[in-house]
């Protein structure tokens, strides 16, 4: 039961009406439940921000550290005990902005964990300032005249950094999101899923995208599958969310590789 992983007394969720975080949390817990993982063998690590509050609602082991550092905390946890199922939840501020350096190195290092970055295109918790994924020209609390920088295509960054599993979904298409998270869990190695999610309270309001349903519609209208996007020019893809699996390949994970080093030195000797 998915309820086994939820602190019911903590409900309702503190997230704003129309926020996508609850949808993502549900998709993760559904997948966890399906696999029969236990509260004991899961660790959920979070950063700081709206999505960073997700650990408040789960009954599993959890680690709520500092802004942007969820991945290195997870790295230590997983390497110390490779039998744990580690889920790292980050927002766009955590994942690619203050924690961008950790993200690319985690992708390169290939520690076997699932990283789920919810991208709502701005800093929600602190009131809607721009992040590393805020698109050019967007209005935020700190880009009141329109943003002059470009946002990251996070999946491209993580892919270039060497992650063996990279995918993007949205909270609009929950069926696809479920499937992407499922594949990420089953893939051995660093598995990254970016989830496009609305922030009607800040990003939506600042950019006149309307209320929660309208924002969901906006995400739907701007989503293009990876297959369709393949035939489009970069101008045509401006402002679009390309979804699907971008990388899926076998690659030896860190713990397996390091264990070989240990075994070669110890030659079957027991401690």
């Amino acid at each position: 039961m998915i309820k086994d992983y939820l602190f019911e007394e903590k409900l309702p969720l503190f997230w704003c009406a129309g926020c996508g975080n609850g949808i993502v949390l549900q998709a993760i817990l559904r997948n966890i439940d399906k696999r029969g993982f236990t509260r004991e063998n899961i660790v959920i690590t979070t950063g700081i921000g709206c999505w960073g509050k997700a650990d408040d609602y789960v009954t599993t082991n959890s680690f709520h550290g500092t802004h942007g550092r969820a991945l290195p905390f997870s790295t230590g946890i997983k390497l110390a005990n490779p039998s744990l199922n580690v889920f790292t939840l980050m927002g766009d501020g955590d994942g690619i902005t203050i924690g961008g350096n950790h993200l690319i190195h985690a992708a390169r290092r290939n520690v076997d964990l699932v990283a789920i970055m919810v991208n709502n295109l701005n800093y929600g918790m602190t009131g809607g300032q721009y992040s590393g994924t805020t698109p050019k020209h967007a209005i935020t609390k700190t880009s009141p005249y329109g943003h002059v920088e470009n946002g990251f295509d996070v999946c491209k960054v993580v892919q270039a950094a060497g992650a063996p599993f990279v995918a993007r979904g949205t909270v609009y298409d929950v069926v696809q999101l479920d499937r992407l998270i499922s594949k990420a869990i089953d893939h051995k190695g660093f598995s990254f899923v970016e989830v496009i999610s609305p922030c009607p309270t800040h990003f939506g309001r600042s950019n006149k995208l309307g209320d929660a349903p309208k924002m969901m519609q906006w995400i739907k209208d701007n989503t293009i599958s990876r297959e369709k996007a393949a035939g489009m020019t970069s101008d045509e893809l401006q402002g679009k969310f390309v979804t699907g699996i971008f990388e899926e390949r076998e690659q030896e994970d860190y713990s397996t590789a390091y264990q070989k080093v240990i075994d070669s030195l110890r030659g079957g000797e027991n401690e």
């Binding site: 903590k10 063998n41 660790v43 230590g76």
Partner: protein
């Protein structure tokens, strides 16, 4: 029986950590601490442990804490610039009450400073480097033997008090080579993390109403939450004023109330000492040399070496102040620990600093000159 070896301080720290049971290192190489990383990368996999080099010191500190929460004794080594970067997550270890050992081989600062030259400029940063009220344990070695022995103590304190411990070495001791006896397991007392007991459903990792609660490890039946935000007994977020008051007082008192047990000091010729040198770390070597020379000249000089810098060994410093005509505090900084001595100087005797900040060690003659002056 121990093994007699001739080795560098930094190398002996690695051996001490392994002897203490440490099996995880996460770090970012930095002069003059890099030999700890290098020797750890050789030694840890030999004993089934793991070395990981992180992208920076922020990530290193995070990985360290994560590994400890998952049940491994973990350590890192850095120097000033890295300590500054580790300061943020050091607070997570404090707040989450996660044991770990952070070695700082001090070099001359501020900023990049003189990367290869010794200093003791991080004494107050070690105490207050991470923001917010808290207490912390800081140990200062003055020999290669200390690098081994005190490292075991550092891990023991860390587990016993559920706190990060800073092993505050300096370039002098880190790079010094001399003899060391690597003690065997039968000669060492190792404090192992106690396992929680009782029904896992009732496990509250932050309920210290009956002494310090044992810390579980991820993967055990005792599921738990670590939270850098203010939390309740369960580790769940809790912003109630009375709860915040309780937690912050606890973080300080769990160490300060045990200051006497944690205090390690060494006394040299203190029985009849009139001029007392209060010193620590690399500068203690200069002080001991100066004391010996002063005794040869018939001056009653003694040394009180402070090994546990924080919490402050209050009783020992007060006793020294009570018996002395004058106290001299040699430090490789502009006077960071002397304030702790002055604070306790009730009789108002002369408390004299000998300070050097040019990247060179204090030579014994500098201290001897002050001793002779004070003895007049």
């Amino acid at each position: 029986m121990g093994e007699f070896r001739f080795m560098q301080g930094n190398e002996a720290m690695t051996e001490g950590a392994i002897a203490a049971g440490a099996r995880f290192y996460a770090g970012y190489p930095i002069t003059p601490s890099s030999e700890v990383a290098e020797t750890s990368s050789i030694r840890l996999p030999q004993v089934g442990g793991l070395y990981v080099q992180m992208e920076d010191e922020i990530g290193s500190m995070a990985a360290l804490i994560g590994a400890s929460a998952a049940g491994k004794k973990a350590y890192t080594a850095t120097s000033g610039p890295g300590l500054s970067l580790m300061a943020e997550n050091l607070g997570v270890a404090v707040m989450g009450e996660i044991p770990c050992v952070l070695i700082d081989v001090q070099r001359s600062g501020p900023s990049t400073g003189l990367a290869t030259k010794p200093a003791q400029g991080d004494v107050l940063q070690a105490r207050w480097g991470t923001h917010g009220d808290h207490s912390i344990i800081v140990l200062s070695p003055s020999s290669v033997q200390d690098c081994f022995d005190l490292m075991v103590t550092a891990f023991n304190y860390s587990e016993q008090y559920r706190t990060p411990v800073i092993f505050l070495s300096d370039e002098i001791i880190g790079h010094l080579r001399e003899q060391v006896i690597l003690k065997g397991p039968e000669e060492l007392e190792i404090f192992e993390r106690p396992e929680p007991t009782g029904d896992p459903k009732d496990y509250r990792p932050y309920d210290h109403s009956n002494g310090l609660a044992p810390l579980s490890r991820f993967g055990s039946p005792y599921v738990f939450k670590v939270n850098g935000s203010m939390h309740d007994e369960w580790g769940r977020p809790c912003a109630r004023p009375d709860n915040a008051d309780r937690i912050i007082r606890h973080l300080s008192e769990k160490i300060e109330a045990h200051a006497e047990e944690i205090a390690i000091t060494r006394r040299y010729h203190m029985d009849d000492a009139e001029i007392v040198l209060i010193c620590y770390g690399g500068a203690a070597r200069s002080a001991l040399s100066a004391m010996k020379k002063a005794r040869e000249k018939g001056i009653k000089a003694g040394v009180l070496q402070i090994v546990t810098l924080w919490p402050v060994p209050d009783k020992e410093i007060r006793e020294a102040l009570a018996q002395a005509k004058a106290v001299i505090v040699p430090e490789l900084n502009l006077g960071q620990y002397i304030g702790e001595v002055e604070k306790r100087n009730e009789k108002n005797i002369p408390v004299i600093g000998v300070n050097r900040i040019d990247g060179q060690p204090i030579v014994p003659a500098q201290i001897l000159a002050k001793i002779e002056e004070a003895a007049k």
